[in-house]
Symmetry: C2
DNA sequence: CGTTTCTTTGAATCCGGTCAAGGTCCGTGG
DNA sequence: CCACGGACCTTGACCGGATTCAAAGAAACG
């Protein structure tokens, strides 16, 4: 079945350039990963470029004492694993089962040529990555627990449509993304729900009940 | 006097590619900024590329309620103001008096040509920016106040040489970079000094007394 | 169903923030 | 040369938001 069209459609046109599928599809290799499986490791040589076809991916950094920081989550269409240096600074793991398109960087260059649309695509993806990371920085440095969680839910909501969205990650991943603990995540979700801003059906499915109210929490 | 050579030398070869001076020097305009003066504003159109010639620069994001997050500090040789989008996501201000080289992005492209060394230089600078931002992310999300301050001092020390380094920024800037308050900064500095890891001579000049000890605090 | 894993909830604790003085450094002007 | 003033930094006491510890509850899985 054509996972391409299926996974590509349901995203609001807002994130990574969608042309990516068509461009690197023909020269890439598709791989499937099981839930939690590692796609590449921290400090591993970075010679490949990856694209999410189906499922979702997290990149993360592990400190020696076990503390974890999630860099970002990636969804169908997104490119990840782009690093200028020789090795990966974060590791990448599948969130649930995931289908990934993998391309050799060098192959990609010879295929599209320097300065071609492929080169440009990678450049754009890297710049977007930087923008998202800067936004994340602000969130981690200067926002309260409640603001962090509200921002997170709004961010997810923007990227998926349908009234009820399904969180592709568990509480621990949310916590490690927002720089909080799972208990705090749980409490803040409870509070947002009690305030009538969101509604949960189980711990993964939610619906935004009061978008302006949420947006007011998120500051700017 | 030749600020070029003077400000370029005293940095360990570790950060931005030094060829930058020679490459964009000829086509740029030099400007001087007073202490605290704005170089460009948040949400201003981003049509220029900047390079620090002398002094230092901070980029920052201001929230509506006055909270501040500093993105990064830039020193002689560093490029900043690179954004892929149409407008700046952070503003930039001089830290003390600063000399800045300013180049029109379009001029830069026609001068060096697509895919030339200039294009490559900008690409490299953007990727380095991303790496530093990711490191910053980890620091903000998962490090304690003490670890943050220790990391910061080591980072400064790496970039300047001479036994005694001079902090180019005040406590408020350190706080807004590390996601802390000035009081906490002050207390942590006091503690690190009491533990014999660093020594301060006035509130701006310091020396690292026990680098391995500091490195042990910084985790990894 | 039973087991395991994940999530929620409560109570106690603690790190960092807030509030409030007091000190230091510097530039200015008497 | 020193007194004054203002900006910045340090220090202390207290407070509060988030973590930690602990246990109960819900969901996922074989």
């Amino acid at each position: 079945m054509s996972a391409h069209a299926l996974t590509l459609e349901p995203r609001p046109a807002e994130r990574r350039p969608d042309l990516a599928f068509d461009l690197i599809g023909p020269i890439g290799v598709r791989l499937s990963f099981a839930a939690g499986e590692e796609i590449y490791a921290q400090e591993e040589e970075a010679d490949l470029v990856y694209q999410v076809i189906g499922g979702a991916v997290r990149t993360l950094r592990l400190l020696s004492d076990g503390r974890r920081q999630i860099g970002d989550f990636y969804y169908p269409g997104d490119l990840f694993g782009l690093e200028i240096g020789p090795e990966h600074r974060f590791s990448a793991e599948a969130l649930g089962e995931a289908d990934i398109l993998v391309v050799k960087r060098s192959a990609l260059r010879s295929y599209g040529g320097d300065g071609g649309p492929l080169e440009r695509m990678i450049w754009t993806a890297t710049a977007l990555e930087l923008e998202r990371t800067q936004e994340h920085l602000l969130l981690l440095g200067r926002k309260t627990a409640c603001e962090k969680v509200a921002s997170f839910l709004l961010g997810i909501a923007k990227r998926f449509d349908g009234a009820f969205k399904t969180l592709p990650m568990g509480r621990q991943d949310m916590a490690d993304y927002l720089g909080l603990t799972i208990e705090t995540i749980s409490r803040m979700l409870g509070q947002l729900q009690a305030d009538g801003l969101v509604e949960f059906a189980g711990c993964r499915r939610f619906r935004i009940k009061n978008a302006p109210g949420l947006a007011r929490i998120v500051v700017a």
